[in-house]
């Protein structure tokens, strides 16, 4: 299978049939190319879907790929009456998610240190919604659990990977701290 068009069609067919996200590993195995080549073909496809008059698009979710509809056609899809209404997250849940996303893998204690409030319930809600997951345990006293974000997190918030998160200027603090006037 050498023809690029043929490969792209194959990937499209496979991804459509799967419905669920498919790993890069599996896809490269199917088309008989190495992972690097497959990844570049997929990112090419991503661009093509984006820039052409298609109702669907390709999404990268970590090391997996999935087909989905473009958000702008939501109002038409709504006529199908799928009627899904998800219950939104609380302000606390967004805050905890934000902390976990940037500091992962992170312990519950660290999350609470940053927020200044107990975050037990919020963490269990997020685990339930599969937005975060346990990522082993930290070495040290008590061996506390470490948490990180999931593929579902990327899916829900439209990121293609954790590296895709917007930079929040970590160095900014240090610079400004030096300018704090001492009275």
């Amino acid at each position: 299978m050498d023809d690029l068009r043929e490969i792209e069609s194959t990937l499209e067919a496979v991804l459509f049939a799967a419905g669920d996200s498919v790993s890069l590993e599996k896809l490269s195995e199917i088309i008989g190319q190495d992972k690097k080549t497959t990844a570049s073909i997929l990112s090419g496809m991503e661009m093509k879907y984006k820039n052409s008059n298609r109702g669907i698009m390709l999404r990268q979710l970590g090391s997996k790929y999935q087909l989905c509809t473009k958000p702008e056609y939501e109002e038409y899809i709504a006529y199908l009456g799928t009627g899904r209404k998800k219950q939104g997250l609380s302000q606390a849940a967004y805050e905890v998610l934000a902390i976990i996303a940037y500091h992962q893998p992170v312990t519950r204690a660290h999350v609470e240190h940053i927020r200044g409030v107990n975050s037990d319930n919020v963490i269990s809600t997020l685990l339930e919604k599969n937005l975060i997951c346990e990522m082993g345990r930290q070495d040290g006293p008590g061996r506390p659990k470490l948490y990180g974000t999931t593929e579902e997190f990327l899916r829900v918030f439209g990121f293609s990977s954790i590296n895709d998160l917007p930079q929040l200027g970590m160095n900014e603090i240090q610079v400004v701290m030096n300018d704090v006037p001492v009275d």
């Binding site: 049939a17 419905g19 998610l97």
Partner: protein
């Protein structure tokens, strides 16, 4: 009229107070309300306003979470440090007492900002639809095994050899243990007789005890003593139950 006003005010305040996620959230609200530069917090004003809120909460019989009290004490501590004059020599090294609080607030501000970003992104990406995973037939992923009869035989033989090896291994170990543990009664009798030859009364516990011998050895030693008594070469005495056992050699009297 007045009571009506107070009750509606009461309601408004209650809702507002309950909305704070924690002490940082409250502090943040105060900073934004007063349009203060986060890096240059007028600690006196903020502390006063913060305490006002806590008192309001107290008046309304709201349970104040301990986190709010911790923050209150932190604010008061910073305030007191700023009030106290510092010595000139120390002045240069001394850091702004507000520094730690500011660092935490900045960190919290970033979290809040990103939380808002997440909320906005969710709104957009909630409009995206996915297809449900297809229940694909299993055979699509079946791996066809390429096995010839000779290969199968070889695998079987190797597997059985491993099995036997493991078995043998265990037997060998067991033999070794048995060999080590083997204590013969005959040997013990000989050993004990040799000791009795000297014609001295023996204490059983001194010859055989669990401190430096195995249980089997002590038990066999005991059997040996009984055997010797039966042969009439010694007498055994025990004055108290569980007490010391004495083995006394029977000396053949001349004549």
């Amino acid at each position: 009229m007045r009571s009506e006003l107070t009750s509606s005010l009461h309601d408004a305040c209650t809702i507002k107070l309950n909305n704070f996620e924690g002490p940082f959230d409250l502090l943040f609200y105060l900073i934004e309300k007063n349009q203060i530069d986060i890096y240059d917090i007028p600690i006196f004003e903020i502390t006063d306003q913060y305490m006002e809120y806590l008192f309001a909460m107290q008046e309304m019989d709201l349970e104040i979470a301990s986190e709010f009290l911790v923050m209150a004490s932190t604010l008061l501590h910073i305030k007191s440090r700023l009030l106290l004059p510092s010595r000139k020599e120390e002045e240069q090294e001394e850091t702004d007492p507000r520094e730690e609080l500011i660092m935490k607030l900045v960190e919290y501000k970033k979290v809040k900002e990103f939380a808002d970003i997440l909320r906005e992104r969710e709104k957009i990406w909630d409009k995206v639809y996915y297809k449900l995973p297809e229940a694909l037939p299993e055979s699509a992923f079946e791996v066809i095994l390429d096995v010839s009869p000779p290969l199968l035989k070889e695998c079987y033989q190797r597997c059985m050899q491993n099995y036997y090896d493991r078995q043998n291994d265990v037997t060998q170990k067991m033999n070794r243990i048995l060999r080590q543990e083997k204590v013969s009664l005959k040997l013990k009798i000989k050993e004990l007789l040799a000791k009795l030859k000297r014609g001295v009364r023996l204490c059983f516990s001194q010859i055989y005890n669990l401190k430096n011998m195995s249980r089997i050895e002590v038990a066999t030693g005991f059997l040996a003593a009984l055997e010797i008594a039966k042969l009439g070469k010694a007498t055994i005495h025990q004055k108290v139950e569980f007490g010391e056992i004495y083995i006394e050699p029977k000396i053949k009297r001349k004549g």
